[in-house]
């Protein structure tokens, strides 16, 4: 092609040579533009296909890959028997639901905020004084759900990335938890301690967290499927993780407590989870 242009040039036949050069330049520009459009189109295409991924990202949720683990411990009777639990992949919020997040829910649904704790409402602290039912309502409103007790413990232990630490993310309680010895009798802003292996904050300490399951003081009757809340009709619900008023023992990943679903306290909050629809 270059030889042809040069022969036209030598014969002083400029017009075909210029036309050909312009055609080449136009082709290059078109090629570059088309590439640019393809790149721009790609994210839109992903967005349309995987709105779930966008959803969990917007909720600051962390994936917990499917797996199984030994749930419970031989420390206390209510943590026995240690048993194998199978879980599908799910997503869980990296932080406890905050005062600001809960206020948005109240504003949107014309609910009253709970009465404030003695330290008042601070936007980036975990919400407290919410019943299990309040937590359920919030979760539904936000398109999520409460985690099952098995999901909660699996996530607290770090899922497949578990380092086998005593508390969620460390065996040194003060690194990961706001608890009786460092809290000063109040909650603290979420995500200010070290996260666990999955990037989850405050699974140990700050506030106890509501789970979806009913509470039985042993695992004797429970199935090995951790995806479904156990004993859902019980009024006594599981809360996990310990809190600002409690000692280190309460913040162990296996520690359990049961409370009536209407119970509201400045010690209890929650976080949400979600699973991809099959």
């Amino acid at each position: 092609m270059i030889e042809k242009i040069l022969s036209w040039y030598n014969r002083k036949n400029f017009i075909p040579a210029i036309i050909l050069i312009l055609i080449i330049i136009a082709a290059v520009i078109m090629f570059m533009l088309s590439k640019h459009y393809i790149i721009r189109a790609k994210p839109a295409e992903i967005k349309a296909i995987d709105s779930f991924a966008v959803f969990v990202q917007s909720k600051k949720m962390v994936p917990v890959n499917a797996g199984n683990f030994m749930m419970g411990s031989n420390f206390f009777d209510e943590e026995l028997p240690i048993h194998r639990v199978q879980l599908d992949t799910f997503y869980i919020e990296k932080n406890e639901v905050t005062v600001a997040q809960y206020r948005a829910f109240c504003d949107s649904t014309h609910r009253q905020m709970p009465s404030p704790p003695s330290w008042g409402w601070i936007d980036n602290h975990p919400i407290v004084k919410v019943s299990w039912q309040d937590a359920e309502d919030y979760a539904k409103w936000s398109g999520t759900r409460l985690p099952t007790e098995a999901e909660w413990e699996y996530a607290a232990r770090g899922g497949r990335k578990s380092g086998g630490t005593k508390y969620s993310g460390s065996s040194v309680i003060g690194q990961v938890a706001w608890y009786s010895e460092n809290s000063g009798f109040k909650t603290h802003p979420v995500c200010t301690k070290k996260p666990n292996e999955l990037g989850l904050y405050d699974m140990s300490g700050n506030v106890w967290e509501w789970c979806a399951d009913g509470y039985n003081a042993s695992y004797d009757t429970l199935a090995a499927n951790g995806n479904i809340p156990a004993l859902p009709i019980l009024e006594l619900k599981v809360i996990r993780g310990g809190g600002w008023f409690y000692d280190a023992t309460s913040s162990r990943a296996a520690n359990r407590r049961g409370e009536n679903l209407l119970y509201k306290s400045s010690h209890v909050g929650f976080r949400c989870a979600v699973s991809r629809m099959k």
Binding site: F76, S118, D247, S250, R257, S265
Partner: protein, 290 residues
């Protein structure tokens, strides 16, 4: 028409068949009711007449010996030591022996005889007496009075050694009624022929006990003003706070309990409460050396 009510066999009437059947049913009902009430009376009679009971007997094997505890009805208890069907010695107790066990606490092949004594009463008192056999005689090694608290032998931390699990009842009747007061966990180990308080070695279990007390306290924390006005509620809150402080004191961390009291107990009798609690914890302080 004249009806004469007599015992059934004597009823002689000139009634129609239908009326006769109705009368029959009434008589049957009367007889059933009489029978039932007689049975009830008989049952009441039976349970009110004191029956001659067999004394409660407990047995245990200790090395080549056999032990027999007999709790007689006259509030006397006899503990006898046998070998080859021959009685070697006797011990007598005013308290009843509720349990008789041979326990190798430390799995070292040196078991001891543990008699769980109960003084007979509504609550009090439980005592653990530990014996061995020397020269064919039962010899007392240790006696621990647990007052209102019973005790159990458990391998708490699943390490193969057995512990005595009980509770400290020093606050019984101190803050309101017996039922308002809380006991706190004590775990003993068998060391050098005595039961030694070992809460420091079982810190996690003590903290779990404190967790339960704190869960109870949660309900009071946000309503202290209301609670101060109600004597019963105030005493219950004091009882829980005292037990938390007592439990922490077994770990040498009683200041944590006082910090909670200072933070959450706002009633006007706060100083008296703290002073009383300090005095109660000063008597036989539960903390032992680790």
């Amino acid at each position: 028409m004249k009806i004469i009510i007599r015992p059934r066999s004597e009823i002689t009437l000139t009634l129609s068949h239908a009326k006769m059947r109705k009368l029959d049913l009434e008589v049957v009902n009367v007889i059933l009711l009489q029978g039932l009430s007689s049975l009830i009376l008989f049952f009441c009679l039976c349970i009110t007449i004191p029956a001659q009971k067999e004394p409660i007997k407990l047995y245990a094997d200790f090395k080549s010996y056999k032990l027999l505890a007999v709790n007689y009805e006259d509030n006397k208890t006899q503990l006898s030591l046998y070998q080859n069907d021959s009685k070697l010695s006797d011990l007598y107790f005013d308290d009843m022996i509720q349990t008789l066990q041979v326990v190798d606490f430390n799995r070292d092949g040196n078991p001891v005889i543990l008699a769980g004594l109960y003084s007979r009463g509504v609550h009090c008192c439980f005592t653990a007496q530990l014996f061995t056999v020397n020269n064919n005689t039962l010899t007392l090694l240790a006696s621990n009075n647990f007052n209102n608290s019973g005790f159990a032998i458990e391998d708490v931390d699943k390490d193969g050694r057995m512990e005595v699990v009980t509770s400290d009842d020093r606050f019984a009747y101190q803050f309101g009624s017996y039922t308002q007061n809380r006991f706190f966990l004590n775990i003993y180990r068998w060391e050098n022929n005595s039961l030694v308080l070992a809460n420091l070695k079982f810190r996690a279990w003590v903290l779990k006990d404190i967790e339960q007390l704190k869960i109870e306290l949660e309900r009071y924390i946000e309503n202290t003003e209301v609670i101060c006005e109600d004597e019963g509620e105030r005493q219950s809150m004091q009882a829980i706070l005292a037990a938390i402080t007592g439990a922490y004191s077994t770990l040498g961390e009683q200041q944590k309990g006082y910090d909670i009291i200072n933070r959450y107990y706002t009633c006007s009798d706060k100083e008296n409460f703290i002073s009383k609690l300090e005095n109660l914890l000063a008597i036989n302080p539960p903390l032992e050396k680790e």
